[in-house]
């Protein structure tokens, strides 16, 4: 018994370093963000507002804009990454000459640092020097160069396109791995039953890949919702704050304008939204797994 207790204590000693790190680096800042969110706070003054602070937040027109932008951004990016990832995984699963080379090539956008990708896309969209406008003009699709990033209606979508390109290789790799895991016997059985390629995909491939797809969607959703670099480098949230999403606006509030209270409130909503979404999503997917 005594021996056991000793072991029990030494066990805690072993996890202590990581526990301390977690407390100092994650829980404490998280807790303080909640506290700060009830204050009107800047470098030069601090004022307690209480729940009134959140009333102010929900009345702030920027809040609904940011929420709308974040949802548009996340849903479009995740949806197209999933589609593109699945498509490219199906292509790369085939055996053909240059397959390994192509697999290496496809991952390139994913391993590229976000800032560099953002700067490259800024150049591609450049109204005077950019490639995209050049080809659009050569092909006669437009006669005037389009100002992608300086139009409040287009800027966010221009970044969404870049973000789909930047992130889809992750989905590709996940789905490629998932595809390898589908038991061949299932295909054989389906063939014997007279299934064609389409029904094999919908009745064998997709159901077998369910767990991979669920996890990949969840991960890409959270990452995309909190993805900072591309928007920040390409538009800086502009023009006139029209393309801000949660992380870029929080950064601007906190570190450019030193409105820590406002920034904390946005961060708390961002956090709670992701938390509720994740819980809901995970529950839902486990439930349907049980029933399936």
């Amino acid at each position: 018994m005594l021996h056991n207790k000793k072991e029990w204590i030494s066990g805690y000693f072993f996890i202590l370093p990581s526990l301390i790190l977690l407390i100092v680096l994650v829980f404490y800042p998280l807790f303080m963000t909640f506290i700060y969110s009830f204050y009107d706070m800047s470098l030069v003054s601090t004022r307690y507002l209480g729940w009134e602070a959140y009333q102010k937040l929900f009345q702030n027109p920027m809040f609904s804009l940011i929420f709308k932008n974040s949802l548009t951004w996340t849903i479009l990016v995740v949806f197209f990454q999933c589609l593109l990832g699945l498509g490219s995984a199906l292509v790369l699963k085939q055996t053909f000459i240059g397959n390994t080379f192509l697999r290496g090539l496809v991952i390139l956008p994913w391993v590229m640092p976000g800032v560099i990708a953002g700067m490259a896309w800024r150049l591609i969209y450049h109204p005077q020097l950019g490639l995209l406008n050049h080809y659009l003009q050569v092909l006669g699709i437009v006669d005037q160069p389009l100002t992608w990033l300086s139009s409040p209606t287009m800027a966010l979508y221009a970044v969404i396109l870049a973000a789909i390109w930047k992130g889809f290789p992750f989905s590709t790799i996940m789905y490629l791995a998932g595809l390898q895991g589908v038991p061949l016997e299932l295909y054989e059985a389906a063939e014997i039953d007279g299934a064609n390629e389409t029904s094999k995909f919908f009745h064998v491939t997709l159901p077998s890949m369910r767990p991979v797809i669920i996890v990949t969607l969840l991960l890409t959703f959270i990452w995309t919702f909190n993805y900072f670099e591309l928007v920040y480098v390409m538009t800086g949230g502009g023009p006139a704050e029209s393309s801000h999403i949660f992380p870029t606006y929080i950064y601007d509030l906190a570190f450019k304008r030193f409105r820590f209270g406002d920034a904390s409130r946005f961060a708390v909503v961002d956090f709670l939204f992701l938390l509720i979404f994740s819980l809901f999503y995970v529950r839902l997917s486990f439930k349907s797994e049980e029933s399936a």
Partner: protein, 418 residues
């Protein structure tokens, strides 16, 4: 006998200890911006050696950061109560640091100093360090937004005399429209992410006799006729500039200029080396910032002030360093921008810049941006107004009226909650 001996011993001890105290060395922590030029780093080291010769008991420890990290590092250190003893701060941070209680007023030191005199510095730079009647910094270096860089070939190609650059707003616009075709343009505006666009619109407003805030920095004056006219003119320049200006930074516009896409470009005097490096073949020149027909060409000041922190344990030693570092002889050598000391600036400009007289004249009349501890918020409101105007989302009057209302709210909020 024993008593006397003891007394003697104690005396000896006291003398020894106080002797140690007199010779005790102090160490100053000084934060500066990181410099890329080898020459400049060498000059800083030499200057530091000279300082240590003058004050052997003061050790100086430099810590340098690149510009984009500098503000964050400084604020985090200051907010945590562990700032350096001395640092440089951007003029627009000076009031914020003062209001937050990070830095100390220097009026008493200046009053007693034989070396630091107000009239030795550009007045716009000196006044940028005054917050609520007290002086919180000594100007170190300066720059002026903006001068008109122009490509002489553009003038020749459209039959204009390259030795007669535009002086007034109308001339600038007319010459610019002559240069504008589908492929080339008169100038390239920018809205960007930093404070450059505010410097440009402020300069237009200043030149037109207006201001952003009233004299006491308590009320916004952007809805007054001088500012409205200035922004109307800025809007008009859209016609001689390549599309996409609201997403462009000053760097993007700079590239359009050095790539030979635009004939004229508004930027500070420190851009000369960049023009030469990127477009060594270009036949370029510099002219004053254009002025309205009935106005004066007034630019906007940028630059850095030296400040002493409240937490500094050795304030006198810190002041000695500030005094030394901003003196004419040293300032001239250790500054990468134009020195804030007028005499040093003249020597520096003559030696390192083309068109030194034009730059000096522009610096001598330049004005500082609004002095307000929450300047970053104010600047963001201004930028949004400028963007709305350029995107035709609001008329000039409407955008500036809205901005004035927002800025007034910001000012009220700040002054009533303090």
């Amino acid at each position: 006998m024993k008593k006397q001996f003891l007394l003697g011993l104690v005396l000896l001890l006291v003398v020894c200890l106080s002797g140690v105290a007199f010779a005790q060395e102090v160490t100053l922590k000084v934060w500066l911006m990181k410099q890329a030029e080898v020459e400049l780093i060498k000059a800083q080291e030499e200057a530091l050696a000279e300082f240590q010769k003058l004050y052997p008991d003061i050790n100086v420890e430099f810590t340098v950061f690149p510009y984009n990290e500098y503000r964050d590092k400084l604020l985090i250190a200051a907010a945590a109560g562990n700032p350096p003893d001395v640092s440089v701060v951007d003029q627009i941070w000076n009031p914020e640091f003062a209001a937050a209680g990070f830095i100390m007023p220097l009026d008493d030191y200046v009053a007693q100093s034989p070396n630091v005199k107000k009239e030795d510095y550009f007045s716009g730079a000196w006044e940028s360090a005054i917050f609520q009647g007290k002086l919180y910094g000594i100007p170190f270096d300066v720059g002026v937004w903006a001068l008109n860089y122009y490509n002489k070939d553009f003038f020749r190609n459209v039959g204009l005399d390259p030795e007669q650059p535009p002086v007034t707003w109308d001339e600038f616009y007319e010459m610019g429209s002559k240069m504008t075709s589908g492929e080339q343009w008169g100038t390239a505006l920018y809205v960007g992410a930093g404070d450059a666009v505010q410097c440009i619109t402020d300069a237009l407003i200043f030149s037109n006799g207006g201001s952003v805030l009233d004299q006491n920095f308590r009320k916004c004056t952007l809805d007054q006729p001088p500012a409205v006219e200035a922004l109307k003119y800025f809007k008009k320049l859209q016609g001689i500039n390549p599309p996409g200006e609201v997403a462009r930074t000053e760097e993007d516009s700079f590239q359009l200029f050095t790539a030979g896409k635009v004939g004229m470009f508004w930027y500070g005097e420190w851009g000369q080396d960049t023009v030469n490096a990127r477009a060594p073949e270009m036949d370029w020149a510099l002219a004053n910032f254009p002025r309205p027909a009935e106005g004066e060409s007034i630019g906007t000041f940028g630059g850095w002030n030296m400040v002493i922190y409240q937490n500094a344990s050795q304030k006198d030693a810190a002041w000695k360093f500030v005094e030394f570092w901003t003196s004419k002889e040293i300032n001239e050598k250790v500054s990468s921008l134009t020195p804030a000391n007028i005499e040093a600036a003249q020597a520096f400009l003559n030696q390192k810049r083309r068109f030194p007289e034009i730059i000096f004249q522009q610096l001598a009349t330049a004005l500082y941006r609004p002095i307000f501890p929450r300047y970053p918020d104010l600047a963001e409101i201004q930028r949004n107004a400028t963007t709305h105007i350029l995107l035709d989302q609001k008329s000039v009057e409407e955008a500036l009226k809205d901005a004035t209302r927002e800025i007034d709210t910001l000012l009220d909020e700040y002054y009533t909650t303090r």
